[in-house]
Symmetry: D2
């Protein structure tokens, strides 16, 4: 049982009726629902003091989930610094959907994290390209999402350490939808699905991937990270 | 100007009218056509003595292209040994289409190199997922092939050092269609397009990729590879 | 608790008094000693029928350890085929010391796995270059081995997915001593220490690394690996 | 012939007699000396307006070399932004010695880039661990530097795409001294040697590596990097 903190921008759901209809209590609440029981779950949102990510919360967090979309720039640099520090120390980080453009993901990748996109609500298939990966446990050969926003290549990220999913979109595009990285001692997983106007996080396979990814990203022990001057 | 040897199984073209109609002089001849001028081109086929890959030919080859399909097992292990040795010494290797199942590719990868496939002649789009790669030079955002055999994931190869292309297939599948590896001093590129009943190698973008890949795979100088007991 | 099979060539220990003095019951017995209790341990040696690696043994093995030195060529190809198949299906493989030259390691790497070496019994320090890796759990910043055979670069293997240890040798050389790979669903770890005339496998840190690596290499569940023709 | 811009902090050389004795005209001038002739060379230093890195200079630069030590924090974020942008567009970047702690390197890596160090002026050997790499062209199996500052592991950087050199230090440490990365279309090479009180950049092998790395990092053509909304 890990301590999982779900961070959500939580603006759309309060300001847009279409989104509120899908996620009345916020995307974080929907995700919390299927992680609770297995994990100690904390939720945190942009408009709380320190965005809900106090030093205490970050200190006890094993895996942080990040969903943001319209207000990436409102996240304070000081909080981003602290999240980065915690990832390098070993905290897992799951970056969801439009979180690709968050300060923390761009900070950890060193690139723009740009991509192509289109709101078209067509069919998406996330193919498992690495069936041996524990994040794919329990899936079939692909996940089918009957309607999703399209994200297309190129995706401006460093070559993933391990690519788990590649998406096929009905409209003709592909996307590297499940990308694993390690930075310092922390495991990072980018997972594409998750548009705010579609109940993606109620899909059982999507939930399974997030559950698997939480397990995968939970810190393991290693050797000391000692830096600085030596005798 | 490199010395490029194009190896082709060259059975289909002599035994099957449909294939002969597309590649009357063999796939190797079609590929030779667009590489000559830029490079010194040698062709070699299965039914020649030593499959046309004598020590002298391999010694002078900078980049070897490999196309095979129905007779992978007829390639002598002794020749595969020598090709592997030359790749480790620095010779480039371009493995085309059904060559994924060749002895030499399986030997260098250490895996089964299996995949899924279907003869369905639908549309394929090869998306450039690494636009910064020299193999993608001169391409647009994707290559469109109006009809191709489908290859689908999972593709049982080691994680590529660099993934250049990912294919989208009309039928609903995806595939890592352009995979870069290095083994020893040799550069290896697997490139998916190329079914024998469709004039894929007459497509200008496919030709461009092969030309780019020959440049990329041409040996560069390095430091000595010295092994064994030291004083 | 995993099922761990320790494969040892077991020739040196029966034929050479110096080795017999260090490992009277064979290297496999010494390794078995510190893994038993945590795991179900099987041992297997070259001169048993099928080298002790029957289909049944391989089928139930979660992690296979491999130590060989003077008789790599006597390992039957048919057994190597079956071990490779099991690794691709998910069985973990730990290749120890001179096992770098085993058929199975060369098969999975696709390279010569050559290196430089010298019998000089000087000091070795294995530095942890990836302190976040679970294989380094419980170690200090380096492992010190007061006397070891030297292995030096270049080491002709594919670039590791993850490099955990780099050795410093008193005589002036370095070596990538802890290399992680995945092939198919199987995790592979090459670990350098282990000369037959020095009680390396009685060193507590070496034992700790092997215990950690067994944990790391134990199969996890994934998605189906389905290949072949699709409808 | 590439356009190479050598950026140097250029404080030590003006403020410290010991450094001035080694590099009277600045480290940049010494490096410029051995690159001129082969390349169009520009030099730029911290105390120039915009640190000498105007938009025009960056626009025409093919490969940027970076040396800094005591004043990393004085580099304006706006300039760092622009250098990062140019790297992602394809400009090569060579980060030298204490430049590991520069804003631009930390920005592109996403980690602290911390390490261990000691001023002890002992012997360093940079072993070529990837003899097939063009950056190693013309070298012997290792570079010997009779006295250098020590840098030791762990080095908090992402796993390199390709590791070219590993250093052995007389005092007992190792270090990944030649690390290749790609970010966006840009090639990045970190190269360890270079303390300011030792004439490292007058060593012929060090010069050879820098010349090779400039060649390797020179931009090549690729496909368009197009991001944003699609029709």
């Amino acid at each position: 049982m890990a301590t999982v903190t779900i961070w959500n921008e939580y603006r759309h759901e309060r300001e847009n009726d279409e989104v509120a209809a899908v996620y009345p209590d916020g995307i974080h609440a929907t995700i919390a629902d299927f992680l609770e029981g297995d994990h100690q779950v904390i939720t945190a949102t942009l408009d709380e003091p320190k965005h809900g990510l106090t030093s205490d919360v970050l200190e006890e967090t094993d895996v942080l989930l990040w969903w943001g979309h319209t207000a990436h720039d409102e996240v304070e640099d000081e909080i981003v610094d602290r999240v980065q520090e915690r990832v390098l120390e070993g905290m897992g980080l799951l970056v969801l959907h439009s979180g690709h453009y968050s300060k923390i993901f761009k900070r950890l990748m060193g690139t723009t994290c740009s991509l192509q996109w289109r709101e078209d609500d067509g069919l998406e298939r996330l193919w498992v390209v690495d069936p041996g990966h524990p994040i794919a446990d329990g899936l079939d050969e692909c996940i089918e999402l009957p309607e999703t926003e399209m994200y297309g290549e190129p995706f401006d990220v460093p070559e993933p350490d391990r690519l788990v999913f590649t998406s096929w979109f009905e409209g003709g595009e592909v996307f590297r939808s499940g990308c694993c990285y390690r930075r310092g001692s922390g495991r990072i997983f980018y997972f594409r699905p998750g548009h705010e106007t579609i109940p993606i996080y109620e899909n059982e396979d999507v939930q399974r991937v997030i559950r698997n990814a939480v397990e995968w990203a939970t810190p393991t022990e290693g050797a000391p990270r000692t830096f600085g001057e030596r005798d």
